[in-house]
Amino acid sequence: MSKLHVTTTVNGDPAEFLCDPGATLLDALRGNLGLTGTKEGCGSGDCGACTVVLDGEMVCACLVLAAEAEGRSVRTIEGVAEGSELHPIQRQFLEHAGLQCGFCTPGFIVAAKALLERNPDPSETEVRYWLAGNLCRCTGYDKIVRAVMAAAAELRQDTAALKGVPA
């Protein structure tokens, strides 16, 4: 079976790998590239643990063929923090105890970041529906939703501060 050679960008850095034509982006990230922060909970797009951002849109990496990443840009949980500086969403997940086992957490954080980039001031209902594709079995979602709302507020304040507007 001949492998495909894929050249792509992961978290802003060039990356390349060889993969089977049927391999998923999730297989490539976890296996070929060693980026195990993206989790496999179901392999069928039903749990969101493998949420990554492909060319600016969040997707389930298990529902993307690795070959499709050719020439595209992929962002994963490993690219959310700026170096050692946690993103406000990550910090708020810690402050609000938005994780128990933590296995679903990378998917939630990537999804929440995609939400706040699109909608900086979501309602609780909007947060809940946006995150409906991410399953968490530990928290009952309460503290996750609170963490995302708090991160949104913090990010709005940051934006206001940048613009010199009182928040």
Binding site: T24, G48, M58, C62, L63, A111, A132
Partner: protein
């Protein structure tokens, strides 16, 4: 999957040739059904043909006269970014954006939803109600057919070897028109419809229904266009008797099976409930209330 080939053709013509060359080949648009089926071993195509590198295959085009052409690889979420489409056919856009999760809808397409031919496909009853057509490209040239002509049964289509749906077309919203789609699911998201209902109406200035299309999903082997139910509405002001007649016709048209997602008895009862609710939303929109 041992002999799987991945192709990313640059043109529809090339895609059609690849499809014709390998009868087991499958089209990859969003992949949200195909990749799951491949992983589960339910399908083992010799090749997947990824449409997304074809120029113009993604996106919504305005057609002369006020209609829309939705490229086969257009993600469901992208429909929400086209204000004129949202204003004209909110039921279609909403139906497409009930499928799966945001993650799924960022990949899934309505053309894929149609060609996957699931009886429970959410966007299909909405498209049928809206009078949508599919532009089919194949070895024999190009043809345009009503969307309801594409699914032939669960997982089967009427597409000939080498044919691919290139785009979905929606007409201009008629003056006084409105559409809606509703589905019933056990949760609030991330489910397959137990029953889905699409409706599109045109109301005259005095509130009389001058045209109606009603469609149901998940109550038969394919989505159904309900002509009798629609006829019960035309010429009425959607009074209680008309709605009851429409709902009764919807229940009568439903011929569901018992399966893990619902019993035939329940689905039949829900066909009327959902159709009625969808008609009322469509009517409110037709009256400019939503």
């Amino acid at each position: 999957m041992a002999s799987l080939a991945y192709h990313a053709p640059a043109s529809l013509r090339e895609a059609a040739q690849l499809l014709e060359a390998d009868p087991t080949a499958r089209v990859l648009a969003g992949g949200t059904d195909l990749i799951v089926q491949m992983r589960a071993g339910r399908t083992a195509p010799g090749a997947v043909i990824d449409l997304k590198r074809i120029a113009g295959i993604s996106g919504v085009r305005d057609l002369p006269g006020g209609g829309f052409a939705i490229g086969a690889a257009t993600a469901c979420t992208a429909l929400q970014d086209h204000p004129a489409l949202v204003a004209s056919w909110p039921g279609v856009v909403e139906a497409a954006n009930l499928i799966g999760s945001v993650q799924v809808r960022n990949r899934a397409t309505i053309a894929g939803n149609l060609c996957n031919a699931s009886p429970a496909a959410d966007s299909v009853p909405a498209l049928i109600a809206a009078g949508a057509t599919a532009l089919v490209v194949g070895p024999g040239g190009v043809r345009e057919v009503p969307v309801e002509a594409i699914p032939a049964g669960p997982g089967r289509t009427t597409l000939a070897p080498g044919e691919v749906v290139a785009e979905i077309r929606l007409p201009a919203r008629p003056v006084g028109g409105g559409d809606a789609y509703l589905r019933l699911i056990p949760r609030t998201e991330m489910d397959i419809a137990i029953v889905g209902a699409g409706a599109a109406l045109v109301l005259g200035a005095d509130g009389t229904c001058t045209a109606a299309r009603v469609a149901l999903g998940a109550v038969a082997a394919t989505s159904l266009r309900l002509d009798a139910a629609a006829a019960a509405l035309v010429g009425t002001r959607l009074d209680e008797a008309a709605l009851a007649a429409m709902a009764a016709a919807a229940c009568a048209a439903a011929r569901p099976i018992d399966d893990k997602r619902g019993s035939a008895v329940y689905r039949t009862a829900m066909a009327g409930v959902l159709a009625r609710r969808a008609v009322l939303i469509a009517a409110a929109r037709a009256g400019g209330k939503a």
